[in-house]
């Protein structure tokens, strides 16, 4: 009896070993996200989503029969650390491609590393300078700020409002938005009357708003991430600011409505489509991807999937497509990425080309308005 059991065990062990030896080694993909630190609101959902998507792909049999292995490191939003970790991914882990980092600063810092190592990078940060000018090995998934700006200015033009006041946060996100707003205004015939800023930790913006109230501005554009814009919404209500308020995609989450309360009513902002997936027409190309992502995230993390996670979803799925077409070498992946057309992702419909490594048009954003504590599409 004892002997039978031990032979059985031995044969099972042998069987396991032999299949392991037969299966091809996994394809190693590096991931750098700011999971902790000030940009953790970006990095945490990105890390969660990337791991979730890779697990799903492996469960479904991997890519062309090979599993993916995601090697994730936390940059903490520190550019120096990002460079060290990128070097580690390249030299020690020998990955074939890198996704992330979460912030523009981290992404810019590691570009020389990936260019030297000739490994494709799909950044999840928004700064347009990551892919302008086009760099051979660098792609990105997050929508450029300029696209959101274009969406707001188009709407203003439609409403025949030509004089605006700006109120932007004094951090990287606000500075980039401010730059884009000023650069595109003239093209839409829009005049910027005042240009104020606020600190990311400020708790009272009535001074800036009182100044704007006294000006001739016909609309206010506020650029920032929570909680600043919620304070601005509340302060604007307190001062009885009568002009329409536009915000940036930086606050397109339910959290903003929760924080601003009644003061959020009527505020319009450009948003990625994940926020309003269920409101989109059936003909929308992204609809299926969006619903799949939302359902998946809900199942895994019991929370709402957001745009930031969406950037990582796009990065992994684009990479998967590229490996299927171009093989598992860095050069093959890069070439296949550049040839990607009409890929319906979370951030938008991606079409990369030799001239465009950001891949999106302003259709990636849709304009939404807060009504009765929920989002509605602005037609």
């Amino acid at each position: 009896m004892k002997k039978i059991v031990s032979t059985a065990f031995a044969s099972i062990a042998l069987f396991c070993l032999s299949t392991a030896a037969l299966a091809a080694p996994p394809i190693k993909i590096g991931a750098l996200f700011a999971v902790t630190g000030p940009a953790s609101f970006l990095g945490e959902p990105e890390r969660n989503t990337a791991q979730m998507v890779v697990d799903e792909i492996n469960k479904a049999g991997g890519v062309k029969g090979r599993k993916l292995e995601l090697i994730t490191y936390d940059t903490t939003g520190d550019a120096t650390k990002a460079v060290q970790l990128a070097n580690k991914l390249v030299k020690n882990d020998q990955v074939v491609a890198i996704i992330g980092p979460s912030t523009t600063g981290d992404s810019m810092a590691i570009i020389p590393v990936v260019e030297r190592a000739q490994i494709p990078l799909i950044s999840c940060a928004a700064g347009s300078k990551i892919t302008e000018p086009v760099r051979k090995w660098v792609f990105k998934t997050a929508q450029n700020d300029g696209l959101a700006v274009a969406r707001i200015f188009e709407q203003l033009k439609k409403e025949k409002k030509t004089k605006v006041a700006l109120l932007t946060v004094s951090d990287g996100f606000g500075a980039s938005g401010r730059e884009q707003l000023k650069a595109h205004a003239a093209r839409y015939g829009i005049q910027i009357l005042s240009d104020d800023t606020y600190g990311p930790k400020d708790t009272d913006m009535t001074a800036q708003l009182a100044k704007i109230r006294g000006s001739q501005a016909q609309a206010l554009i506020c650029w920032g991430t929570n909680p600043g814009p919620a304070v601005i919404a509340r302060n604007a209500k307190q001062l009885g600011l009568a002009i329409p308020v536009y915000m940036s995609h930086g606050v397109s989450s339910k959290k903003f409505i929760e924080l601003a309360g009644d003061a959020a009513e009527g505020i319009k902002l450009p948003s990625g489509k994940v926020l309003v997936a269920d409101l989109l027409p059936k003909s929308d190309k992204q609809r299926n991807s969006l619903l799949a992502f939302i359902k998946d995230y809900q199942n895994h993390y019991k929370a709402e999937g957001d745009h930031f996670g969406g950037h990582a979803w796009d990065a992994v799925m684009l990479l998967k497509g590229a490996i299927e077409k171009g093989g598992d070498t860095p050069a093959g992946i890069r070439n296949a990425l550049e040839a990607t057309r009409n890929f319906p992702g979370i951030g938008g419909v991606f079409s990369y080309s030799a001239k465009d490594h950001a891949g999106l048009t302003k259709d990636a954003f849709t304009l939404v308005e807060v009504r009765k504590k929920d989002w509605v599409l602005v037609k």
Binding site: S40, Y198, D204, T206, A207, A210, P227, A230, E258, G261
Partner: protein, 294 residues
């Protein structure tokens, strides 16, 4: 006329923000007055007040008044435990060592709150609605009146306590000369404990009443603490009224600066004032030079 209206608004907004700074500044001064140390975990007490009130309200589903009481009580206990575990055991520690310990404690508290309740910003509902009130062409929220009211109550309370009760007088005696106080039979240790308890209570109360306006998260204590510290320095870390005036001046200058000069310099103004005062009048704006009275 328009400019006049604007300036009124700047001043009123500034006074409202300033009274928040004043309240936090007071809680700095209370500890300094009896121990001679600056408690850099003070901002964390403010944060704890807001965060705990929201937790009691949203998760424990307590009524608002009870939630506030719970938040203040729990923070006060944390202040007490902090003094017992981190300050008391150190015999013969220099003020510098104690200050570094408070910095460590502030990082620890912030980290624990982040782990327990996450990094999201949350808001407490306003105590009595959000319909703005018009005063001389400017507008205020009902919450601002709560802040003004509580600040006045705390100042009056502190004044009565420090000038007219035995414990208050004993605490002041400790701040002037610990050894002498000890010699006349005052238990210095107990007075230090008292000061931590009171200042945790005042700080957390400040945190609770400002949470509906400014919202709160694990890291709001840093900036609020710094501005409160600024107010306390302006007041010379001493007299209650000086600190309050310091806070009000700081808030008004910030608001006027943001409105009339440039909003980019708002925080710079606070730190510029702080440096200026430390250079010119290190004893504070409203304090006469040290006089020896026996």
């Amino acid at each position: 006329m328009e400019l006049l209206n604007q300036v009124t608004q700047f001043v009123i907004s500034g006074l409202a923000t300033g009274s928040i700074y004043a309240l936090i500044g007071l809680s700095f001064a209370i500890i300094f007055n009896s121990t001679g140390i600056i408690n850099f975990a003070q901002g964390e007490f403010v944060m704890l007040g807001g965060v705990l009130a929201i937790f009691s309200l949203n998760v424990l589903h307590l009524p608002l008044v009870v939630a506030i009481a719970v938040a203040v009580a729990v923070t006060t206990i944390i202040g007490l435990v902090f003094e017992r575990l981190a300050i008391r055991p150190l015999k013969n520690a220099t003020p510098l060592m104690l200050i570094i310990i408070t910095i460590g404690a502030s990082i620890l508290i912030r980290g624990l709150v982040m782990l327990l309740w996450g990094k999201d910003t949350q808001a407490l509902p306003a105590f009595s609605g959000t319909d703005p009130i018009s005063i001389a062409g400017a507008t205020l929220l009902p919450q601002h009146l709560w802040i003004f009211g509580v600040t006045v109550l705390v100042i009056v309370g502190c004044r009565l306590f420090f000038n007219h009760t035995i414990s208050g007088k004993a605490m002041r005696a400790c701040s002037f000369n610990r050894r002498a106080a000890n010699l006349v039979g005052i238990s210095v240790g107990r007075m230090v404990l008292f000061s931590f308890v009171i200042s945790a209570a005042v700080g957390s109360l400040a945190g609770v009443i400002i949470a509906p306006l400014t919202m709160t998260a694990y890291d709001v204590g840093v900036m609020l603490g710094l501005k409160g510290f600024c107010a306390a320095i302006m007041g010379g870390m001493g007299s209650g009224l000086g600190t309050v005036l310091g806070g009000l001046i700081l808030g008004t200058l910030e608001s006027l600066g943001a409105g009339l000069i440039s909003s980019g310099y708002k925080d710079a103004i606070a730190f510029f004032i702080l440096l200026l005062i430390l250079f010119i009048r290190p004893q504070g704006l409203f304090k006469k030079g040290e006089t020896e009275r026996v």
